[in-house]
Symmetry: C2
Subunit: 110 residues, 2 copies
């Protein structure tokens, strides 16, 4: 993962509402949630949520699929996994072999 992508992902998550949205989608799992139910659950205006969903999408943290009139959002766990990989890499004074086996385990069945 490139550093610029990492910064985009971290900036996207470093926001009160967006962190809530992302975690809600993580909890929702493969079912995801529509923009409307996200807004209702978190009690935020639709346009504010929309702006934040754009930012999460641009960061690759969520994906969306139209479903009739609504649009359903899903967390992209791969992106999270790649972020964790970047943050942990080259750990421990240039001896990645100490951490690599651990990083290899960071996968999620989602």
């Amino acid at each position: 993962m490139e550093k610029s992508s990492v910064l985009t992902v971290l900036s996207a998550l470093a926001h009160d509402t967006r962190l809530d949205v992302f975690r809600l989608l993580v909890r929702a799992g493969p079912e995801g949630m529509t923009a409307g139910s996200l807004a209702a659950t978190l009690d935020i205006r639709s346009n504010t949520l929309s702006n934040n969903l754009v930012i999460l999408s641009a960061a690759g943290l969520v994906r969306s699929a139209r479903e009739g009139r609504a649009i359903r959002y899903f967390a992209r766990m791969e992106q999270m996994r790649d972020l964790l990989g970047f943050l942990m890499e080259d750990c421990c004074g240039g001896q990645p072999e100490l951490c690599q086996p651990v990083l290899d385990q960071i996968t999620c069945p989602c």
Copy 2:
């Protein structure tokens, strides 16, 4: 880990220079680096670095120890581990037992 702490940590890392500083300290391992060598390595002014070190310290991502005239900084891997734990928790539609064994592996010998 509390959500407010998570936001503080993410905000601290979501910054070009601070991400460089943190990763440099991660690579440096237990030896750490002085503020001066960090500034020289990254080619940034001392007061700019200092401001950023304050932010990283407040987020619990680094710790420091005076060493003569210099001050030596170290990455706090525990904080990173806790962050990862928070981001992954309650994964997969409220079935944490799917991810918990994975999270339990996220430890670093640093």
